[in-house]
């Protein structure tokens, strides 16, 4: 069976979860994305994408401790699974192949 595919936002969020390690939850992911892409994603969009990644088996979630600053609610913490790491490596390999040779076309004088 073919591995599930990754959309652009899915890959971006999966990479953020991988970077954040054990501390990956919606707010941390949003901040990471905002600092790297300059875009302010809605918290709803982030969690919907995280749930989709979880249904594809690329991340796994667990509930943290209830926190007073969250009105007694827990953080939903995400971590990348082995399938998620494999998907990241696959996406990187494809991106490198797709981008190969583009630099010389865009900047011919530099070559």
């Amino acid at each position: 069976m073919a591995a599930p595919t990754l959309g652009t936002l899915e890959l971006t969020i999966l990479l953020a979860v991988a970077r954040l390690g054990e501390d990956a939850y919606g707010l941390a992911v949003r901040r990471d994305l905002a600092s790297r892409t300059g875009r302010d994603y809605s918290v709803g969009a982030v969690y919907t994408t995280l749930e989709r990644l979880e249904s594809k088996g690329f991340v796994r979630s667990r509930r943290g401790q209830p926190l007073p600053e969250r009105g007694g609610r827990s953080r939903r913490l995400f971590r990348v699974t082995a399938a998620g790491r494999a998907a990241i490596r696959r996406a990187e390999r494809i991106a490198l192949q797709v981008w190969a040779g583009v630099g010389t076309t865009l900047n011919p004088e530099g070559t």
Binding site: V43, Y47, L67, E69, G71, R73
Partner: protein
């Protein structure tokens, strides 16, 4: 309920009926960021930010609610819509009967429409608000959606029934006011729970 967070907005988000895990994650993140923004930007700016974000996350919460919708939930909605419609009809019928006594005079031009129209429009809002309130009370798992369902049913009935004999602008205004009244009734019921906390 988070300390300091705009409680009414938070309450409205909670009642949109999304899956508990998804909803708590979203509302918890908003509460956490709100606390940070209060320290950085002050309560006024943070509050404005919260309202903006509440609007932004609403479609996502509704989407999650729709995905989790099952037949048993639809039965729950139908029950809320049925009872609210019944209340609306029972209360509405005698008032409309009295108002309809004036229709021949209005149609013949003996009584100007602008005299009777405001009364009918005011009644439409009040009746809609009552139906929305009842629907939200019975359909408490998703009160706003229950009120919206009643509004849609009644809007369809108004457009499809004998109301077509009245001027189109009057029908349009009536339907709009009924929709607004019903949703307002639903909101009033939902926010009443906050005041009662």
């Amino acid at each position: 309920m988070s300390e300091g967070v705009p409680r009414r907005a938070e309450r409205l988000l909670e009642t949109l009926g999304a899956d508990t895990e998804f909803r708590d994650a979203v509302i918890g993140d908003l509460a956490e960021e709100y606390e940070i923004r209060v320290r950085w930007d002050g309560a006024k700016v943070a509050r404005r930010w919260y309202y903006g974000e509440a609007v932004r996350v609403t479609p996502w919460l509704l989407r999650d609610w729709l995905r989790g919708l099952r037949w048993k939930h639809i039965g729950h909605f139908a029950n809320a819509a049925l009872w609210a419609s019944l209340v609306m009809f029972v209360v509405d019928f005698p008032v409309r009967a009295v108002l309809s006594l004036f229709v021949p005079q209005v149609m013949s031009g003996a009584l100007p429409l602008f005299i009777i129209a405001p009364l009918m429009l005011l009644w439409t809002v009040m009746d809609g608000a009552l139906a929305g309130y009842v629907a939200a009370r019975i359909g408490r798992r998703a009160p706003i959606q229950s009120a919206a369902l009643v509004a849609l049913i009644w809007a369809s009935l108004m457009i499809g029934s004998g109301w077509s004999s009245v001027p189109r602008w009057f029908l349009a205004v009536n339907v709009t006011l009924m929709l607004a009244g019903t949703i307002t009734g639903g909101l009033l019921r939902t926010l009443r729970v906050v005041r009662g906390d």
